[in-house]
């Protein structure tokens, strides 16, 4: 039989979190995830959700978005992409466009660049309609 090389157990709670996040394009905050999972696991603790998200992030299965300084948001899409953020409703939407972000060497200020992320700010169609 296959040995579990990772030192973690597949608990029903963890499974539910993974399942909720799978193909999720909403960039949910921790509370969003919690509120959904608690319908299936009425006793789940918010701390459990936090711990699982931290773990899945460390395993590279999730990316944490630092958009807005308020809450942590998680993205199961770990491949490089950028985001559109609505200034009104704070909705986060993927933008699947590649940009050339090469920095001329003399502008790098000695940094070794590892990655990049663009946040586009604007008004989403729903909020535009309202105003």
């Amino acid at each position: 039989m296959k040995k579990n090389l990772f030192k973690f157990k597949m608990t029903p709670q963890r499974m539910a979190i993974l399942n909720y996040l799978k193909d999720n394009k909403d960039h949910p905050a921790v509370e969003d995830i919690y509120k959904s999972i608690i319908t299936q696991f009425p006793t789940i603790s918010l701390a459990t959700v936090y711990k699982n998200l931290e773990m899945l992030k460390n395993l590279g299965m999730l990316k944490e978005l630092s958009i807005g300084q308020d809450k942590k948001h998680f993205d199961p899409n770990v491949s490089p992409h950028h985001h559109l953020i609505c200034k009104e409703c704070k909705k986060i939407v993927d933008i699947d466009v590649k940009f050339d972000l090469n920095i001329p060497e003399h502008s790098k200020k000695g940094f070794e660049i590892i990655g990049s992320h663009i946040e586009f700010y604007g008004i989403c169609p729903e909020c535009k309609k309202k105003s």
Copy 2:
């Protein structure tokens, strides 16, 4: 004499905050600002710093950076520019390079784009030396 069209007073505390931020390129967090001002105003309250920063932001004299989800950082440079962020020490450095970030209309998902901001992640020269 000139009337103050804005409904705010120029207090010594506010002046000190403005002065600290003027030409500041360090993207300080609230506590950094507080720690500096308190040397001149030993009785200043952290809440006063918060309120002033919020006000100056609303007046368009500062920009709030949402880099990292931990603390609020403020930037007196309100003209569009991007940032290099050190993954090790979390230092934030301006990058004065213009990028072409035009999004093809069909990729805008109905958003009206207002602005954009690029975060480049990497290792700063100081941290590179250490490791």
